[in-house]
Amino acid sequence: MLRLALKMLFGDHAKYLMLISGITFATLLMTQGAALFCGIMSWTYSPLRNIRAHVWVSDPKVEQVNDSKPLRDTDLLRVRSVDGVAWAAALYQGYNQARLVDGTFKFVTLVGLDATTLAGAPAEMIEGSLEDLRLPNTVIIDQFGVEQFTQKRGVPVGVGESFEINDREARIVGICRTQRSFTGGPFVFTTYDRIASYVPGQRKLLSFVLVEPAAGVTPLELARRIERETGLRAYTRSEFMWSTIWWYVRNTGIPINVGLIVMIGLVVGIAISGQTFYSFVLENSRNLAALKAMGASTMTLCVMLIVQSLAVGLIGFGIGLGIVCAVGTMVLHLGKVPFLLLWQIPVASLVAVLLISVLAAVLGIWRIVRLEPAVVFR
């Protein structure tokens, strides 16, 4: 009977395509919306991925990695004095304008690394050498910097070329690979002691202290110890990531807007699938009544209906997820659209699609339960 149920469904091409379209569209909206949200959120904590450290120490009021409230230089020494610290390095992170050779300005995330250790340096160099950062007036830019600084030139910006920050020369000695920032501006790495010349008029420049725990000390233990002993805020990498994400969730309209997309997907899915499935049952009610008269139990017919709705749900979900993956691959290749498809997203979408399918089936089941087999004789 289940095979017949599927043949009944697949044979009604118009209804079948309508149902598949509804579920596909719902999957597309929900999954794409959630992947977009995760993508945006992953951009918010990109400094944590581009500047590598186990523990980040900041002003007690700092809640997220893009918001730095400068520390005193002596705070670096206080952190170093905490038991369990292997090393601690100064870090500047701020937003500045770069003036290109053609006179245009670009907004950049300027990062000042400790010149001695280069702690927090980018993990992957595409071109040039990290050590060259110790040469005078030098910077390392990322692949987005190359793209944005090249926009009005025919030839890509490369190692050996210069631009200006605060009228000071910034000579490119390397190109690294980073994760895109929330603001979209490229990361420009230089040394901490050179920051003073690039950033005018700021009394304090120490945005964060990057800390490495000594052997046998976990980042979490060390973070709590630093907080106890210095009164500063210390985050493990994971803590800082979630703190940043929650800050954006609380303080921006992103979750509401993306949540609306996901909800629209769910409602559209329920509406289209429920209505189409119900009309499918209505149109087949005389045949279903005939099956009931011939001895098919209500339970059998309900199971047939559930199988039909689950089949539509799974096929629609598969197609929808396939489209999302294709679109995601495309946008990731372009690199300009936030997209992060965590494994939890398809799982949650599948649960939502199954919910849609069950709701659609329930409407049909309600009809079948009330269906009198005697109607077939009228």
Binding site: R3, L4, K7, L9, K292, A293, M294, G295, A374, F377
Partner: protein, 256 residues
């Protein structure tokens, strides 16, 4: 009179004192008023009468698809009015075959699949069910249409498929609701010929609700209904022939 007073030996259907009304309160309309009927195995019984006399309602009650308000219903020796809903459903699946006025073939299934439905309901495997369906389709002359869809068949062919579906599980009782009313006279005759040839055997009862007087000559007995009761049951060939003659209907041929 109680049902147990009747002879049960060859009886397929025995109903007594059936009452049924539709609606509530002042709009309550009685449809059956103490209807009583008996049908035997091996006979083709026609239930005839004017529209609205309660034929289809009585047929639904006999088929177990509708409950009577009062009365006793015994089908194939089982009191189906005392059965629970699930029991009646299983009883129908195993013992009853149905032929409907509008054929009720599932349009998205092939003819063989449509015919195999009663066997699938009984739980037979699809392969075995379809083999059996092809055999019975061969008997109704549709062996070349097994993979066709119902929409590709004429009305007469669709009703032959419905006959095959009604008989595929070899039920002892076949219930037919106006089997020829959607067909022209030639197709109606063919359908009745097939019903007479294939459906009728000594162990099976065929009960037909009809007001198509062209089909009367195929009946072994005719029960005439009026105002919710059975007025007459014409039993002997002479009685039926006389009734046919009175209506200008030719007598059944020897072949049929």
């Amino acid at each position: 009179m109680q049902l147990n007073e009747w002879s049960a030996a060859a009886s397929a259907i025995r109903v007594l004192g059936i009452e049924k009304a539709f609606g509530e309160g002042t709009s309550r309309t009685p449809v059956l008023r103490g209807a009583a009927l008996e049908a035997r195995r091996g006979e083709m019984l026609m239930l005839v009468g004017p529209s609205g006399c309660g034929k289809t309602t009585l047929l639904s009650i006999i088929a177990g698809t509708m409950h009577a308000d009062a009365g006793q219903v015994e089908v194939l020796g089982q009191r189906i009015d005392r059965m629970r809903a699930g029991q009646v459903t299983r009883f129908r699946a195993h013992h009853l075959g149905f032929i409907f006025q509008q054929f009720n073939l599932i349009p998205t299934l092939t003819i063989a699949e449509n015919v195999s439905v009663p066997l699938l309901i009984q739980g037979l495997r699809p392969g075995a069910a379809e083999r059996r369906a092809r055999e019975i389709l061969d008997r109704v002359g549709l062996s070349d249409k097994t993979e066709s869809r119902p929409s590709k068949l004429s009305g007469g062919q669709q009703q032959r498929v419905a006959i095959a579906r009604a008989l595929v599980h070899d039920p002892p009782l076949v219930i037919c609701d106006e089997p020829t009313s959607s067909l022209d006279s030639e197709n109606g005759r063919q359908v009745m010929d097939i019903l007479r040839d294939i459906a009728c055997d000594p162990h099976r009862c065929v009960i037909i609700v009809t007001h198509d007087n062209r089909t009367y000559r195929y009946a072994d007995r005719m029960a005439e209904m009026e105002d919710g009761t059975i007025r007459h049951v014409l039993g002997s060939p002479a009685e039926i022939a006389a009734a046919h003659a009175a209506q200008g209907i030719p007598a059944r041929t020897a072949a049929s």
